[in-house]
Each structure stands twice: as C-alpha cells, then as structure tokens.
C-alpha cells in the first residue's frame, strides 16, 4: 500500500513554498533596490504585487482546480510558479521582475488552492487536511524572511528565486502521481454552485491579523537592515526567533481544541509582541527577541485557528481555502500600503532629528574645538554621501588621531553620535509598529464574532 506521507509532504511543501514567497523577498529588497537602481516605492512593489495577485487569483484558481482536476491544477500551478521564479531570477529590470512575480502568484494560487482539494483524500479527513494546510502556510510565512536573508547574503538576491525552482518541481512530482477520482463535470458544477458564502468574520480577522503580521516581519527587517545597519545574514539570524517560536506555538494547538480561544490568544500575543517592538528601550537585537517570540507563537496559533474556522463545515474546501488565501494576502497588501507612507515619512523626520541631535552633541561636547570643527566637516561630507538614508558616521572618524587623549575624545564623540542616530532609527518605526499592534487587537472583534460550524 502506498504510504500517503510523501504526498502529504509534497503538498505541505508546495503550500509552504508558495506562502513563504510572500515574505521571502523582504530581506532581499535592499539588494534588489541597489542592483536594479530603483526607488524604495518601486522595490516595495516586488512584495506587494505578489500578494495582490494572490489575493485576487485565489478563488478563481480554486474554481479552476474544481473544474480541471486538482492534481493537474496543482502540478501546472507549480510549474508556472517555478518558471516564473526563473524569470524573477534573471530579471534585469524592475518591471520584468514585478511581472514575473505576478505570474508566480498566479501559479502559486493555483497550487495552494488545489493542494487543499487534494489533502482530505490523502490525510483522511477534511479537518486534518485544514490543519496540515494551515500549518504549512504559517510555517512558510514565518520561515520566509530568514531563508531570504541567508540566501541573499551567502549567494545573491537572485538565488532567493532560483532555489524555489527545484523545490516546486520536487513537490509537483508526487502530486502528478496522485490518483484521484475526478468528479464528472456536472457534479463539479453543482458543488461549485452550492459552495456557499465564505466565513465572513474568520476571513476578516485573517485579513486584519495578516496585515499586522506583515508589518511585524517587514518593518522588523527594515529596522534591522536600514535602521541598525545589520547585514542581511545578520538580520536573517535575528528573525529566526519568529519561526522557532511559531514551531513551539504549533505544539500548543494540540492542547487547546477551541479555535476561538487559540485565535484570540494568538491575536493578543501578536499585538503584545508588536507593542514591544514599538517600545524598544534601546537599539539592541536582543531586545527584539521577546517580542519576536510573542509574535511567532501568536501567528502560529491565530493563522491556523482562523483558517480552520473558515474551512470548517464548508465545502468545497478548495474554494473556501481560496477565500482564506485571498483574505490573508489582501491583508498583507493593505497593511504594507497603509504603513509604507507612514514609516517612510517617519524615517525622514527622525533622520533629521537624529542628525540635529548628533550635531548638538558635537557642538556641546568638551572636546578640543579645533577637533570639533574638523569632525563637523567630515560628518557633513558623510551625510552628503548618504542623503536619504539613515547614515553611518563611523567612517567619518577614521583615521583616529594618534594622540591618546584626542583619540579618546573622538571615540567618545563617535559613540554619542551613533547613539543619537540609533535612537532616531528605532523611534522612526515606533508609530508603525504601534498601528500594527492596534490592528492585531482590533482583529479580536471579528474573532469574537466568528463561530465554527460544527461538522
């Protein structure tokens, strides 16, 4: 008898890769921005376009899977996803990359919704299928940024896309081999017509919490790389706290059967973690760990619980799964579009204030005045070179003076100036993290209103 495990693994892998793709490029964005010589707004569309097309295409893709057969739809979807991944990797213009991302999303939507149609027959029940599907999606989303950062730093940003190709093709092989009794066209049409309305409150809560979680991932990565000047690999290591916590959070799910309780607890933890990120008392990566742990545990609880609620008692699963995919990715898009102008404005304001504060430190320092005049000139030139970014001023202090007393004064000045810049960078993200935390809390309203339909 054929073991279902390879097929379950393949389906979970397919779902995980596609849903990881909504966040895997986050840590690659700074490299893409430099390599393709584009604007911050432009490069953000590499992220937004994928999520937008996923949101729009998920339900139509589910309908297609029902009509053409989920096995073929999933395999073709994964092939399109892989092919578009190659196109993303070889893109030498932003427009090409964005178009390829849109095509990736189309293939991904087909694969993910079709996978949910295939899972019940493979794992034995629709409930179990929903658990596997939701869990794979949550894991993929949590692991995405860390994987993207490692690949970008160790290889290149293009490798983020290339590495998905063999994984997608590997997942497609067992799926092709799945034997499934295809329903007749008439039955498929009848089932599709009576699909019923999507679970409004569960999907609304999914959208809101997804916006919140997208903010946690995207803003944290930006803070680490652009604000605190970590390398992509450094940032990737730091954000692994979230998927690790998510893994342990998923263990909790088996102890608490109530989906509403898990969703509520998850939303509270996500909000609490984001609240912690909004109130960082110092520019330290260690201080981001407790908030990340809360967000990681929270996201695994809330995403799986809400997905299970949205799917429970509703058929066909693929279509209602499509609605949850639409809700999640629409939430990501809205979260990014709403918060991007806020934090780009705040970064600019805080940059100016931090530079003013640093200048005040320099002017009021007891260091030798001639030294201060020289430092002021060097720092001014450094700021000119880094217009529009959070500046690094370390190079302006090289070479250090030979005189021990002067050297000590210069090092002290450098540390104080860098402290002011770190404060500015950290404070710039506070309002956006705060808004994301509030969104997470507001998701408690539809969570409270959502009721699971018992089978």
């Amino acid at each position: 008898m054929n073991s279902p495990r390879p097929r379950v693994a393949a389906l979970a892998l397919a779902v995980g890769i596609v849903l990881a793709d909504s966040s895997i490029v986050v840590l690659a964005l700074p490299e893409i921005y430099r390599d393709l010589d584009t604007t911050v707004a432009g490069v953000t569309w590499v992220l937004v376009s994928f999520n937008l097309v996923m949101a729009l295409a998920a339900v139509p893709a589910a309908l297609l899977a029902r009509r053409l057969g989920p096995g073929r739809t999933a395999a073709v979807g994964l092939a399109i996803f892989a092919g578009a991944g190659v196109a993303c990797g070889v893109a030498d213009q932003l427009s090409t990359l964005i178009i390829a991302r849109c095509v990736q999303a189309l293939g991904g939507a087909a694969a993910v919704t079709a996978a949910l149609e295939l899972l019940p027959a493979t794992v034995g029940s629709e409930r179990r299928a929903a658990v596997v599907w939701a869990g794979a999606g949550a894991t993929g989303a949590a692991l995405g940024p860390a994987a993207g950062g490692l690949l970008t730093e160790l290889v290149s940003w293009q490798s983020v896309f290339f590495v998905q190709v063999p994984l997608a093709l590997a997942a497609a092989v067992p799926i092709l081999a799945v034997a499934r009794d295809e329903a007749s066209t008439q039955i498929i049409e009848a089932e599709t017509r009576s699909a019923g309305r999507p679970h409004l409150w569960a999907n609304l809560a999914l959208a809101m919490i997804s916006a919140s979680i997208a903010a946690a991932l995207f803003l944290l990565v930006l803070l680490l790389i652009e604000g605190w000047r970590l390398t992509p690999i450094g940032a990737a290591i730091v954000v692994t706290a979230m998927p690790v916590a998510a893994y342990f959070g998923s263990r909790l799910s088996s102890f608490v059967p109530s989906e509403r309780a898990r969703a509520a607890a998850g939303a509270i933890l996500v909000s609490g973690g984001l609240g912690g990120l909004a109130l960082l008392p110092h520019a330290s990566v260690w201080l981001t760990l407790p908030p990340q742990i809360l967000v990681g545990v929270g996201l695994s609880l809330v995403l799986s619980a809400l997905t299970e609620t949205a799917l429970s008692g509703r058929a066909p699963q693929a279509i209602h799964g499509g609605w949850t995919i639409s809700a999640r990715h629409a939430g990501v898009v809205l979260g990014l579009l709403a918060l991007t102008p806020i934090f780009t404005h705040d970064i600019e304001v805080q940059r100016r204030e931090a530079i003013d504060a640093g200048t005040a430190v320099l002017l009021d320092s007891p260091a030798n005045p001639l030294l201060k005049i020289e430092m002021a000139k060097r720092i001014s030139e450094r700021l000119d070179d880094e217009e529009g970014k959070v500046p690094t001023i370390g190079p302006a202090f090289e070479p250090l003076p030979d005189d021990p007393e002067e050297r000590s004064e210069v090092v002290g000045l450098r540390e104080e100036l860098q402290d002011q810049l770190d404060r500015g960078a950290t404070h710039a993200f506070s309002p956006s993290f705060g808004i994301a935390a509030l969104l997470g809390l507001l998701a408690l309203i539809p969570i409270g209103l959502a009721r699971r339909v018992d089978l």
Binding site: A265, G266, G275, P290, D364, A376, K377
Partner: protein, 173 residues
C-alpha cells in the same frame, strides 16, 4: 477541562503581552528618541570659559544661536550648513536664504554672542562696545569664518579687533 485550558491560554497570552509592554515601558521605551534641539532664540547658559580657546568656542556657539534664531532654523542646522561650501549651497536653496540674508543673520548672531559674553562676565564693556561695532559691518565670508572659529576675533593684529585683540589675549589667562 477544555474550557479551563482555553482560559489559561488566553490568560497566559494577556499576561505575557502586558509583562513585555510593561517591562519595556519601565525601561524607558516610550522616551527612547534623539535629543530635541533647543530653541536658538532662548538664552543658553555659558560654561565658565577657561582661556581664550574656550572663550572663543562659547562665543561661536552663541553666534550660531543668534544667527539661527534670526533665520528661523535650529543652531544645529546652521552649523552643518556652514561646515562646507556644498552644505551652504544646499541650505541656501532649501530655505531660500541668499548671501545678503545670511550675512545679516550671522552679523546679528555675532552681536548676540558679544551680548552673551558680556552677560556672562567674559567681556567687559570696554571690549564689548567696540567689538559690537566692528562685527556689525564685516563681510559675509569673514563673518562665516568667525562663526567657525571665534578665536580669529581676538588673535592679535590679524583679528578683527586688531591691536585690541592682542591686548585681550594678554588679559585672558
């Protein structure tokens, strides 16, 4: 049992979130931001200058405050603007300040510095009065150099006070 576990889970989530937020607030998270710039129009106390170099530095800082107040920018913005020619051009373009306006502001700043120095007891009226007069009419570029390094006001015959500057150098320890 299931209901108890559900309540424990939610209670645990609330507690963990409140503890984290509370701890970070207590550690100063709400106030972790850069120092705010002081209003340059408000008087800034002088550190007790020991020697000509420190007197010149205090003088320069007061002049910056005075000029910045006149222009409606922060002392720090003006200080950066005067650091290099490129910075000064950008400043002029951004704030619409031509050389004439800048010259007037810097002269006003230098005069304020004399007032602050006299107020702090670092200059006597005997020095302050002619110094004010000299500063009110100096060319823009010389004014900028004086703001960058106030010692030039006092240094011997090449200073703006000429021989009087040399006399002042002798007086100050």
């Amino acid at each position: 049992m299931a209901s108890t576990r559900a309540k424990l889970l939610i209670g645990g989530a609330v507690l963990a979130s409140l503890l984290l937020v509370g701890a970070y607030l207590a550690a100063g998270g709400a106030s972790y931001e850069p120092l705010k710039s002081q209003d340059p129009c408000k008087p800034r106390p002088w550190r007790d200058p020991q020697g000509l170099q420190q007197l010149a530095e205090q003088f320069t800082l007061s002049a910056l405050d005075g000029a910045a107040c006149q222009l409606g920018v922060s002392r720090e913005t003006l200080a950066r603007a005067l650091a290099t020619d490129k910075a000064r051009e950008r400043f002029a373009e951004k704030y619409g300040i031509d050389d004439e306006k800048l010259a007037k502001a810097i002269r006003a700043g230098l005069v304020r510095a004399v007032d602050d120095a006299e107020e702090a007891g670092a200059l006597t009226p005997f020095i302050a009065v002619p110094l004010r007069g000299a500063l009110q009419n100096i060319p823009l570029e010389q004014a900028i150099e004086l703001v960058k390094d106030g010692r030039k006001i006092f240094e011997g015959a090449s200073g703006i006070l000429g021989p009087l500057g040399g006399f002042l150098e002798e007086l100050i320890p």
